[in-house]
Symmetry: C2
Subunit: 440 residues, 2 copies
């Protein structure tokens, strides 16, 4: 008997983070960090499951979860090994399902649902191979990597032949970089100090602690009030001195003109980049802002819907840093395309993380990029936020401001069994106790 995928189990998991103002920013004042979580089951009898999720901030997590469950028809009944051997084909089938595509196309709830399932399939593939995902990816041949990518809509910026060339150029140094990664990890920056809801004292203390912990870059949320932002930026700069990079993040709060004016007011404090200055759909707006605020740099991408938006951001010279998100575009395959686009345009990738489990997942993509695509860690950092890691079976390990390379097989996506019970929404004990007014 050939082992088959038997189905998907989905879970609406929510954490009551809005009660602490962790994660508060100018557009998202009260998020309840949530995961639309999926487990892929097989009848292989090896005890292995694939785990993945979409990250949301509360309301609508039920709809997102239903969208993931709705993809079961596309994977249930398939042979496990054949499916995992051709995840490029699986990706195309999911993304190009014409009826589902109408609901995006390639954006929003359906695209994020595909991300969760695709990432869960990669988790399963890596577990079956007995390797952490970053290593599994980094050991594929250039030709195998190209097979993962759908070049539809990309060919005016990146042809398959060019992509292959990029991968082949990186091939000779792979072993040395793999060793370097295992020795020293990958640099991180921290968003922990800078949430809008924190007091000046807390900001000051957290900035100081970040530097003590070894971070060379930190980030402040901005965009709600200019006077506050100037004061907070001054405090942070005072605390960390001139050599630590301070990025600022507006979370899409501004129109183009406002972004330019606001960033100029912050410029005296040397912000390293300004993140999501306006609508994530506004390629031309990002380009106009980038031109106007130089030498301050523009970073964006966590809400870019798909590779077509990233392609244009690069074509328009709108980004100094590209911030891919592991679960908004359609998972590993689409992110491989985005890493190749970034390499083609010579733009460093500094992945978005935080939320629920985004750090756990995205480290694999950055490490794969280092070993097999861009071949560089220079001027690159992975975001780090110290939220909710305790819920994961294989949480990230930070040391002296660097992510250590995961060694456990898989994609580090698995939530602890107790978390799936305690934080189930709305009937898990954490939520029922909040509803009864007895919550913490």
């Amino acid at each position: 008997m050939v082992a088959k995928i038997t189905g998907l189990r989905t879970y609406d998991i929510r954490f009551p983070t809005s009660r602490e103002l962790d994660g508060s920013d100018a557009m998202n004042p009260a998020p309840d960090y949530s995961a639309s979580y999926v487990v892929i089951d097989t009848d292989a009898g090896d005890g292995l499951e694939g785990h993945g999720f979409a990250f949301t901030i509360g309301r609508g997590n039920d709809v997102q979860t239903a969208a993931i469950q709705g993809l079961e028809f596309a994977v249930a009944g398939r042979p496990v090994q054949d499916t995992l051997d051709d995840l490029g084909g699986m990706w195309r089938e999911l993304v190009h399902d014409s009826q589902l595509r109408w609901l995006g196309p390639e954006k929003g709830v359906v695209h994020m649902a595909i991300a969760a399932v695709v990432n869960a399939l990669w988790d399963l593939k890596a577990k079956r191979a007995g390797k952490p995902l970053w290593q599994l990816l980094a050991e594929l041949t250039p030709e195998q990597i190209i097979e993962l990518v759908d070049f539809r809509y990309l060919s005016d910026a990146l042809a398959p032949g060019e992509a292959l060339e990029i991968l082949r150029r990186a091939e000779p140094g792979r072993a040395a970089r793999l060793a370097k990664l295992r020795d020293g990890g990958y640099p991180a920056y921290t968003t922990t100090p800078g949430w809008l809801g924190y007091s000046d004292e807390k900001l000051r203390r957290l900035c100081r602690e970040a530097v003590e912990q070894g971070f060379r870059q930190l980030k402040l949320k901005v965009g709600a009030d200019l006077t506050d932002d100037i004061r907070r930026m001054r405090i942070a700069r005072e605390e960390v001195g001139p050599d630590i990079r301070i990025a600022v993040d507006a979370n899409q709060r501004w129109d183009v003109g406002t972004a330019i004016d606001w960033v100029r007011e912050l410029a005296p404090f040397d912000p390293w980049w300004v993140e999501e200055p306006t609508s994530p759909d506004d390629v031309l707006g990002h380009a106009a802002i980038a031109q106007a605020i130089a030498p301050v740099r523009v970073a964006s991408g966590e809400h870019a819907a798909n590779r077509v938006v990233f392609k244009q951001l690069l074509q328009a010279n709108a980004l100094s840093y590209l911030q891919l998100d592991v679960a908004r575009v359609a998972g590993v395959n689409e992110n491989v395309a985005i890493l190749l686009l970034a390499a083609k345009f010579g733009v460093p990738v500094c992945p978005h993380a935080g939320g629920v489990g985004l750090c756990e997942l995205v480290q694999h993509l950055a490490m794969f990029d280092f070993v097999a695509v861009s071949g560089s860690m220079d001027d690159r950092v992975i975001e780090y936020v110290d939220h909710l890691h305790e819920h994961f079976v294989d949480p990230v390990t930070l040391r002296e401001g660097r992510y250590l390379a995961p060694s456990r097989p898989g994609f580090s996506a698995e939530l602890r069994p107790g978390t799936l019970v305690d934080y189930a929404y709305p009937h898990g004990p954490v939520w029922t106790s909040i509803a009864e007014g007895t919550g913490a």
Copy 2:
């Protein structure tokens, strides 16, 4: 007692259109035209309900319907009159709900859910006013119209003051245009002849019939096979002669280079516009195609996610015709913004229609535009497809290739009660008989 909105009722309604190849195109070979349908109830005791829907093509209509139902929290319990008096405020509250916004932002399933609810509120408002929606809108003052629009992310292209100026310029001629519209209707073009699934004979016959019916423009689906497209374009041109416009529609099938090459092969048959030549997200791609294929024109918009994408398509000179969709962007309010953007840039709006009920709804927006925004019908046509109108309580009326102005109060969005029963998915009689193999 102040009358209140009591709740939303939602329905997953699907039509088995894939069995006839009506609606087949290069990207959507087998659509089952569907509506995620919503009814807004009140306790006003006036017997009036608000009706709206999202249009999908089958799979995922359940998720779309759940997303609409998930918006009930935002409208249930509100006072009816106050809510309808400030639909600009209601729109902002729905679109800027930060937790829900994360699932787009402003795109995909959640944005289309907002469209359905916003349009249903407009339907209710027009019914309570005893007017067809186009007339209700066209009788608002310029200041009231501006209040409907959220200018966030638009101000670099269109400031509120400029928008007001556009509306004021159109004010003096409103009465004359309203009379002209009631007399002669609004020009339509027909997509009926050109579906990919039709035989050459059927194409030829339908082209001839379209001209006999008074249409001055028709449209062919293209993009699956170049040889077929050349043959079909030749047939159509032979049948209709040189004076009838023939548009072609690729439904996003091509990469940028392919689009340019393909359209050049069709150019000898004088295609009027090429529609959706590539990804709807690819502003720069549309602009490159437009420049390369001139004097053939580019039309797009039915899958443009929101006003920010339309803004850029206009800024980049990517469109000769803007094809707004009534239920993909967030309903009437966002379409008012898009009509104002188009007027600012001097680009004619030729709305997307067809599907389920899109003709019924979008005629109201085009007619409002004629009376109160652009002030012109020149070089403008509303798409017409003769599908599924029989399911609507107030179906469109075509005469000699023109839409007649609706006179019945509301937004023409209401499905017949029998349709809500017969086509309910998956348990309505049409679907159970198909499942049992006894379907037509």
